[in-house]
């Protein structure tokens, strides 16, 4: 009884909040409605018994949207509810394409004869995920680790302004470093 109600409420919240991202007129509202959409999907995944993935989705996406909001404000500058923003191009085509895609996907969902369920869920879903990652799917885990590390480095290189030569001088000998504001551990 409670399950279908929860499902539909969360589904409606997820889609509406997702649509609100492109309808509201402030950056903060846009990013936090995306966060709401993610929280709703995270809870839906919880309903589908994948506790770990569901909670991790909430955890990551709220954090990410907090950062996202900062970037939005930083690069666009937007007073809350002050400036109605409309920054669309090709609105009509985009709308047509996305509606087309939805119709296509929906038709697929409804028409494909989905096979019956194979096997039952493991007793401890989270432990099964851990065993999977550390056992047969170890390759995925190591690949993910590598990709993440590369992302961190690449992101910093792309975004950083000052290099160590700016901080420590051309011979890298200047101590303490020449920073606009001293850091916490006195490097």
């Amino acid at each position: 009884m409670l399950l279908p109600v929860a499902f539909w409420v969360l589904a409606v919240v997820a889609v509406l909040a997702g649509a609100a991202v492109f309808m509201v007129d402030s950056m903060a509202r846009a990013s936090y409605s995306l966060a709401v959409s993610f929280v709703a999907v995270g809870l839906l995944v919880l309903l589908l018994r994948q506790h770990y993935v569901g909670v991790v989705t909430i955890l990551m996406m709220v954090m990410e949207m907090a950062v996202m909001a900062v970037y939005m404000v930083m690069f666009m500058g937007m007073n809350p509810a002050l400036m109605p923003m409309s920054m669309v191009h090709d609105n009509r085509h985009a709308l047509a394409v996305s509606i087309g895609v939805f119709v296509l996907l929906a038709a697929g969902v409804l028409l494909v004869p989905w096979p019956a369920r194979r096997g039952g869920p493991p007793v401890d879903v989270t432990a099964a995920l851990g065993d999977g990652l550390m056992g047969p799917k170890m390759l995925v885990m190591s690949a993910v680790g590598g990709v993440m590390a590369v992302t961190v480095v690449a992101g910093v290189v792309l975004a950083a302004h000052r290099t160590r030569y700016d901080r420590f001088g051309d011979d890298l000998r200047r101590r303490p470093a020449d920073d606009p504001q001293p850091g916490g551990v006195g490097r």
Partner: protein, 368 residues
Amino acid sequence: MGLTDAWGRLAVRHAHVLVAELPGYWMTRVAVERQVLARGWRLARSPADADILAVCGPPRPPLAQSLTRVWEQVPGPRTRVGVDSPRAVLAALDTAAADLLDTAAQRADGRDRTAEHGGTGRGGRRGGSTPDAYGHAGHHEPPHGIPLAAGGEDRDGLEMDLLRLRLGPVLAYWPAGLVLGCALQGDVIVDAEASLVGVDDATTVAADAPVTDDPRRFAARRCDNAVSLLGLAGWDDAASRARRIRDALLVNSDPDRPARELDRLRRRVGRSWWLRWSLRRLGPLDGPELARRGLPATAVGDVRDRLLAMLDRAADGIAGRHPAGPPLRAPVEALPDLVRGWDVATARLIVASLDLEPLVTGREVSRV
């Protein structure tokens, strides 16, 4: 009715007071602070937090306008009292407490404000965005009368909005009468402009005269500045200690206890590695730079050095050794350079660390 009254009395026993100090009335402010804390009241951090606005000294334009703006932001039930001398404090605070309990008057006040403003307070000081950044954002009218911010390159080479913010004249732990108009990017001060308001000619004339011949008052002022600096560093306990020493210096005649307490505080502050970590390397000044800016040689070092020196000078004052050299009053010309490039928190620490003398107008009754 009985319940409402009891409720009101409980609330008023825990009132928060926003203290606005006018130039030349620091002794009055000190007396207000002492009485406020003795009643179990608290000092408010912002107008929104306050029930009572206590104005120390007679406001003249343009400070009167600033105070009116602050007063508009106090949510209510609210009351405003003017205190002109340390002796008037007790009576003024009693009046304030009675005013807060006067439910009928407070209701009338609330009605008037709703009628006038359609809301309470106006804290909006933030500039907005540039619609030009994305050419076709239809509205170019500044909404709500808030002018839009202009952009500028920040210290990381990113173009950021510039935000104008005025520090002072009514701000906790801030030198009275000083106004610092800042241009901020994020919370980094990219440009600043200092001025003094509410300071008349009498002050300027008196500026070269020694502040006081009384070494205890000299020490008390050092302690008061230490209160500000420790409070800004977020160490409320140490700030409270410095405040107690200050009050003891001004009220009691026994010199031993404050001297002992000050010695303990000095040792505690010197020992705190956390404070050292927090304050070191901030606002460093060396000898030649001080000379160039017309600052006293005692301000050498970083914020922490200056804090320790401040406490040492206080100890000297208690011991009766009067320091040499002219007193340092708000160095209007030097300030912008000192705070430029730092964030607001650091800038405020730097200003507090300068250990400024109060501006004197020669009218304040000098006894607490």
